[in-house]
Amino acid sequence: MNALHKISDFFMTPAMKIVMILAALLFPFVASNEYQIYVMALAFVWAIAVYGMNIITGLCGQLNLAHGGFFAIGAYTLAILTVDHGWAFWWAFVAAGIAGALLGFLAGVVSLRLKEHYFAIFTLCVGFIIYLLIDKWEELTHGALGIINIPAPSGFGLVDFTETTPFYYLALVFMVLSIWLAARIANSLLGRSFRAIRISDELAASLGINLMRNKVLAFVLSTTYASVAGALYAGMVRFIGPAEADVVHTFDMITFLLVGGIGTLMGPLFGTLAITWLTQSLQFLEEYRMIVFGPLLVVLVIFFPRGVVGTFLTWRGRRLAAAHETAQKESASEKKSQTKKAVTPRNQEAGNHA
């Protein structure tokens, strides 16, 4: 049991971050083939989008089902600007982020007027409209054919990002930056405002938090994350089609969040990696792998509603609280015994006088 506690303490130390980053840096050297590196890089790209979803859904409590749509907006902005308009990759990449933010702002201002289920249903529709636009607006998006020959990220002559391993490190850098920003937000007063909204709109408003402004900000942050991830995805896979906007991707990301731990900092990463590798290892089952997945998810939601990371944090929080209390009691009893000792001589004196 004590060993378990020690391990859990280690998970929370800054050293753990270094261990994780080291492990990520070394992964390409221990991977048995290039395909594994590719899968890992792709998981990192998805993880960025999942971190975005965690801001609006995990922190702020608004279930946004248009998230996959904004991922596709990022991918298509990059693809259209580079392939059809000859933009340099990184300019198009920045434009993709801005497009995600602007369109997110427009969609957010309208959809966030709705609450709870209505918001979820509305954003589901927004996601589907994005899909339809991509599928039908052939002049702009090439329709069902999709866009091919998307350039890889430019390495400025130093690195070749068409190779898998360099791209892996690029995705890693972006993911670490995403997690860093997500951590900043979550731990700040801004993140606390978001979480107050998650508890209840009425409570947050009564604490002087402007609901609309904070919700729109969380929404724009999340769509920016999604479109940046989408742009990276386009630069990695290098051909995209309307299927990128399929609602299935949104539900995949929700699964990653639920498994890892919604609203936690490391949950999105853990969930994305765990499910990605589980899917890979169950590949031999083909379509039947859902038979394994379905029950697994149900069990998880029933017994670990806060996901793996969330459950760990609650367990640890309780343990720390208990430890804190025993420490308090011990120091209290020590004080008592000290005062007793201090009192005793006086009592004796009093006794002597008597």
Partner: protein, 255 residues
């Protein structure tokens, strides 16, 4: 401090609050009582800005706040607690309270990204305010606990503390003693008195008559959305209209 003029809120044909006028003085405990469905909570929602009134006006410290948004009213110094206490169950008690002082801070997204000095100062300020209000409500010994694990009475106190963290001058308490035992009710009443001693004006809705009669300086009685009486506990206790509304007249019983 708070002046209500001809306040009315209609939902379709139903007037949940009907032509209510009253004045609440600063540094006093004001209570609103009345049978279920009398419009007490609606009255609170109107004052706090959660709903806009159909007619009438609300003046707070000489300022017209009628129809103002909830968060602006909170910044002007009106805080509230709710009938059902909702808190962030997964965090520690202290952690729950830090956001309470957010409305007195300025930091925005940019401060978060560059981790500005303003943000760090404001976070320190919010944290120390959280510790202060936790001490004030007498819960500093459980600040480290996960909120899901504390008792109902402690949760009520945390809700008080959260309201106090906003630095309010007027606090609206919606059934603070709901669902807690008599001894705890006594302690909570003492806490409410302590709040008033520290310069906060209190306005509360409550069903527990013993508590109200010993606590309130002024009571307003609502029935079917209308004010049927106002006065000191003594006046209210002997008011025949109030007795009828609460106990029902013989005619009602016959029907």
């Amino acid at each position: 401090m708070l002046k209500i003029n001809n306040l009315t809120k209609r939902f379709g044909g139903l007037a949940a609050v009907n032509n209510v006028s009253i004045e609440f003085d600063a540094n006093k405990i004001n209570a609103i009582i009345g049978p279920n469905g009398a419009g007490k909570s609606t009255f609170f929602n109107l004052v706090a800005g959660a709903m806009a009134p159909t007619e009438g006006s609300i003046e707070y410290q000489g300022m017209d706040i009628t129809g103002m948004a909830c968060d602006r009213i909170a910044r002007l110094g009106i805080a509230r607690t709710f009938q059902t206490t909702s808190l962030f169950d997964e965090s520690t008690v202290l952690d729950n309270l830090i956001v309470g002082h957010r409305l007195r801070t300025q930091s925005r997204l940019w401060d978060v990204i560059i981790n500005s000095k303003r943000l760090r100062d404001e976070e320190k300020k919010c944290r120390s305010r959280a510790q202060e209000v936790l001490d004030f409500v007498g819960l500093s010994h459980i600040g480290h606990r996960i909120t899901a694990d504390i008792s109902q009475e402690e949760k009520k106190r945390v809700a008080f503390a959260l309201a106090l963290a906003t630095d309010p001058e007027l606090v609206l308490l919606d059934e603070p003693a709901g669902g807690i035992n008599p001894e705890e009710t006594e302690n909570l009443a003492a806490l409410i008195r302590k709040m008033v001693e520290h310069g906060v004006t209190v306005c509360l809705i409550e069903h527990k008559m013993d508590m109200i009669m010993s606590l309130a300086d002024k009571i307003m009685v609502l029935d079917h959305g209308e004010k049927i009486a106002e006065g000191t506990p003594e006046q209210i206790r002997n008011n025949p209209v109030v007795i009828e509304a609460y106990l029902g007249s013989d005619d009602d019983a016959a029907a």
